[in-house]
Symmetry: C2
Subunit: 340 residues, 2 copies
């Protein structure tokens, strides 16, 4: 990406093993993330550009001398943050705060929207998936890189459990998979706030019991009416823009929790007496430690119980990636799968 | 209070029972709260003034026809919010969000810095204390109105448990009692941030294992060093001013929790990627449902195990209340007891 709206497919030097803890992975499937749209709309132009993409599944081609947990030929899932697997935060399951980890497409590490990627700390980062290179499950496994794990993180941090009443704000891939995760965790009532019918229909399929298309005061009133008049005990915010946050504290019940997983496009926001404090609202969430959830979520994908890959409604080749960005930006596609 | 710095003791009509759910309480002890200092520093002047005080213990003088849980002659504790005791939030123990409740010294209800108070929803609001009018325990019981319950709320919402590492920001009465509460809940390491030695000495007596007098970057570095280098998993913010909040997200560990009970003197504050989101920090807290904690905390007060009344370091008569405000404002007193 060379600036807002300017995505190009260019040849770069092949990645190579640099450290004994590296693996070289050939990408089987990658995708465009809702969060990629933020730079697509605002990145200042640069002559050198930046690699893109933080979600991919691939085949291990080569490993460094210290890597034995994955081997050439393995199909692997790469979470959206790479991590050493051994620091205190990795051991606690908060791999996104790994002391030695980082994010793709930054600091000399390539992005997933490519033919191949050098993976640092391969043993800490990658999870082997017991499928073949041509498996029909690849799209669903790819969601474990980010959007499914992120939706699940929202639900876990929000405290969703059997019988919960949950409101999900946002009908993008993360919001829809937050619905799926909430249902898997036993939520009884799941209100989905979104106004794109094809998306909210998928939300219903994933487990939403109610859909609220209205926004602002009207949307708040509708959610309150659906949740007993006092608001929703758990609110999952899967957008990241200020109006979604305002919607969140508008619909949350006194004593309730707002769990954010949409990357905030603001730094300052209301949290004082008039918004969070007065009624003891808890605000939680952050970048999902997707790595921590892959083992939990993969079995239902493998046995077909869960089909999170339904969020992909368009497939493009690597060369067609710029068109994929445009389709998501125009909202003509929910989530674009890239097949290098 | 007739405006900033302008506290007067004036005669007002005696309160009377107005509703069958009311009680009339003669005040035995009241006090000045750190949160009373906010209007003392900023309240716009008005000719009619406003009653003050939201913490009191007293004797029931008279009850309405529907009140039987407390009776004339009973010594009672009034929490800083009155509540009906029967709405969904009261039943859940979040009495500060009672659907029909409110705060003292507002909306026609008097304040505790007075000789007598009409108490709405007496059965929902008051808790009987099994002591005599001249009990030496009255100061400690008075802390159950607010500061002790508020410190305890901070610890509970912060998730303090056996073995916890906790940092408490603020050496006012609430901060010191947050230390006491953390110790009671089993915290192993309790770092108190404050720079008034007489107060932090009392904090050590209540259970603080370390005291950090530095503020800003220096204070953050000191706390990080004391807590293993990565910060404090639990931070209790007992001040309410922006620098205290900034200190909180400066010292909190990735994945940790900031529990606020100091009434925020700001509405907007940093909560985006650079402050809370990046490392999955949880922000929680709010006005303590002091009513919910009185039954839990009173036994240790009655048997002398806990002595939260030590936060009172000055006693004044009702007539001397203005001097009490000044002493707290100048920080020559930690907390002023009023003995009408």
């Amino acid at each position: 990406m060379y600036g807002a709206g300017d995505v190009r497919v260019v040849d770069v030097p092949d990645p190579k093993i640099q450290l004994p803890t590296d693996a070289l992975v050939r990408v089987l499937r990658a995708c465009v993330c809702g969060s990629d749209l933020h730079p697509f709309r605002s990145l200042p132009a640069t002559p050198e550009g930046t690699p893109m993409g933080h979600e991919f599944v691939g085949v291990v081609e080569e490993v460094g001398a210290e890597v034995s947990a994955v081997a050439p030929g393995d199909v692997v899932i790469a979470p959206f943050a790479w991590s050493d697997g051994s620091c205190p935060f990795c051991r606690e399951g908060l791999q996104t705060s790994c002391l030695h980890g980082g994010f793709w497409a930054a600091g000399g590490i390539g992005g997933g929207q490519a033919e191949a990627v050098r993976v640092p700390f391969a043993e800490g980062t990658l999870v082997k998936a017991p499928v073949a290179e041509d498996s029909g499950l690849l799209p669903s496994l790819l969601t474990l890189s980010d959007v499914y794990g992120t939706g699940y993180h929202a639900a876990v941090k929000g405290g969703v459990a059997a019988g919960s009443t949950v409101t999900v704000i946002g009908d993008g891939a993360v919001g829809l998979l937050a619905v799926l995760a909430s249902r898997q965790l036993g939520a009884e009532r799941i209100v989905l706030m979104g106004r794109h019918k094809t998306r909210t229909d998928l939300g219903r399929e994933f487990g939403a019991t109610d859909v609220v298309a209205e926004r602002g005061e009207e949307g708040i009133a509708a959610v309150r009416e659906l949740t007993g008049g006092h608001g929703s005990p758990i609110v999952l915010e899967a957008v990241g823009h200020m109006p979604a946050y305002e919607q969140a504290f508008g619909v949350v019940r006194p004593g309730g929790v707002i769990s954010r997983v949409g990357v905030p496009q603001y730094e300052e926001a209301p949290i004082g007496f008039g918004s969070l404090f007065r009624h003891n609202i808890t605000l939680t969430g952050g970048p999902a430690p997707a790595r921590a959830y892959i083992d939990t979520l993969m079995p239902a994908v493998l046995d077909g119980t869960a089909d999170p890959g339904k969020v992909f409604d368009r497939t493009v080749s690597l060369e067609e990636t710029p068109a994929g960005y445009r389709a998501m930006d125009e909202r003509s596609a929910l989530k674009v799968l890239i097949r290098p």
